[in-house]
Symmetry: C2
Subunit: 320 residues, 2 copies
């Protein structure tokens, strides 16, 4: 059975879209002057990571975003990338073109160049992106938060989980046209705060990308830093409370445990606040102060006059 | 349904086996002093790339080998790697351990360190390895073969295809115990000529890894170099002709079109022959002179007194 498109045609399509003009090589070399390489690999598996209504172009872009988001959290810029695409039987040429165009668009959007890649046939679509770049002089770790720091996040949160609920719920959820559009955009077209963080990460004492969910991210920063985080201003996205109330959903669940937001959560000294706020305002980035770091352990949330221990839960790829 | 093993446990298993001792980070930084980065990504898809009888440990090793082989062909040494593993439902802890141990063993065998990775749930098992290393001062291209060069290959060829035939044929194929063992080893435990090539590639005018099959490799080198290749000593593995005759198979088909050999095929000046032979003898590498480069186009094979045009065919992942 030759249900797959011809490999040469597929490779040619990707190479053209990704701007790989030279002859095909076994491994690709790039001038790359660095003493500290930062690298990240991430796989998007269509069956679990691509909700109904998301185009292949958007899926391919999101595969790149997953890596870019980790670079953002570390204040680094991705420069080079490799991609490995596994295509299911009966993938069509237009579908290949959509994937290639999504990858190429993302590379251009985030200032990266694809070095090369690999194509395979398999049961389902998956896209693995490996991004490489130069690490900043001091890479903020997940573990550096100290008592007295404040906790900030680019955001807001809750739209992506609302978008996922709208896309996957068996019942028809009520949402205003505007909210539904914002929720869909957050889900299918997340944009990590790459530029903001590149010039701000030297002020982060700890940082992490939020793609596993806000709660899981805060718990990781608290655990690695052996500190307690008190969240007193959960970064609830506009319209999330109303959407949740209307549909009998838990607004704080959407905000804390939904995942799929490619934002950066960080701790910093309180004295860094003005500089970070100025930079965010200048770049049009929505920067939110969500809480503070204290001595102790755990993550606590003050919401609607009640303080409670946040669950250490979030998006778990392998147990979904 | 929670059929997948817990993600934290899986990650912990991989991190322990791969020697990732520090806390988990978003993206991993490594001291890497290089002005020319060489990078390669390759995905092993179990449903198409793992024949019956191959263990998960061997499959994981082979995922690394696929990248290492491309580095070998370019005379480079892989140094760092990232891995993304997609696990099907009902993957057990012992299976995770086997995969992790195969990756770790390969890293140690080939002198590489894993920087980090990603785990996902999906329909089928796949392993994507991204390897990075320092490019040699002059990377041999696929395109550099010139009339007058000789063509050499590490080898021999045909065992892996025989091993695949034995593993997958519906009928029971006849083979001596010794040949069956050699064929199985070639299929499940290929070893690229990394060390030989690292000190020999400066003498290659053109080179390529042979994993798509000997014929496809020779055709690529001939096409990119705009030259003709005359093969007058096909590198037929020991026992391959007898095995093929006994089972009504085409020996030359196994040698030329089987693929799955992770050898290096290269062209070089005839004057480089003695130095290359000495190096191969010293390292115990089986180096074979298989033909010569001439003006013209195409690839021709002289075998058993007959000269014929070689088919430009080989292993095609997407049309399998």
């Amino acid at each position: 059975m030759r249900a797959h498109p011809d490999e040469r045609a597929v490779i040619a399509e990707f190479r053209r879209a990704l701007g790989l003009r030279g002859p095909h090589e076994d491994a690709e070399a790039a001038a790359f002057c660095s003493t500290r390489l930062l690298a990240k690999v991430d796989t998007l598996v269509a069956s679990t990571d691509v909700p109904p209504g998301m185009s292949l172009r958007e899926a391919a872009r999101k595969a790149v975003v997953a890596c870019v988001s980790d670079f953002a959290a570390k204040g680094a810029r991705p420069r080079l990338a490799l991609v490995s695409v596994t295509l299911p039987p009966r993938t069509t040429r237009p579908q290949v073109r959509q994937l290639a165009s999504g990858l190429a668009g993302a590379a251009s959007e985030f200032g990266m160049a694809f070095l090369g890649g690999d194509t395979n046939g398999g049961e389902g679509l998956s896209i693995t992106v490996c991004a490489m770049g130069e690490a900043p002089r001091r890479v903020p770790r997940r573990s550096g938060a100290r008592a007295g720091d404040i906790v900030m996040a680019t955001g807001p949160f809750g739209h992506a989980a609302a978008g996922l609920a709208i896309a996957t719920s068996r019942r028809r959820l009520a949402a205003t046209v505007r909210f539904a559009a914002a929720a869909r955009r957050a889900l299918v077209r997340p944009t990590p705060p790459l530029r903001f963080c590149a010039g701000a990460a030297h002020l982060f004492t700890a940082s992490m990308d939020s793609s596993d969910g806000l709660a899981a991210t805060l718990w990781e920063i608290a655990s690695q830093g052996r500190v307690r985080i008190e969240v007193d201003a959960a970064p609830v996205g506009g319209g999330v409370r109303e959407f949740a109330a209307e549909n009998g959903l838990d607004a704080m669940g959407l905000v804390l445990y939904g995942g799929e937001e490619y934002e950066t959560v960080f701790a910093c000294r309180a004295s860094s606040r003005p500089a970070l706020r100025r930079r965010a305002a200048r770049l049009g980035v929505n920067l939110l102060e969500i809480g503070r770091v204290e001595r102790g352990r755990g993550v606590y949330l003050a919401d609607s006059g009640r303080r409670s221990r946040m669950r250490n839960a979030g998006w778990r790829h392998l147990s979904a």
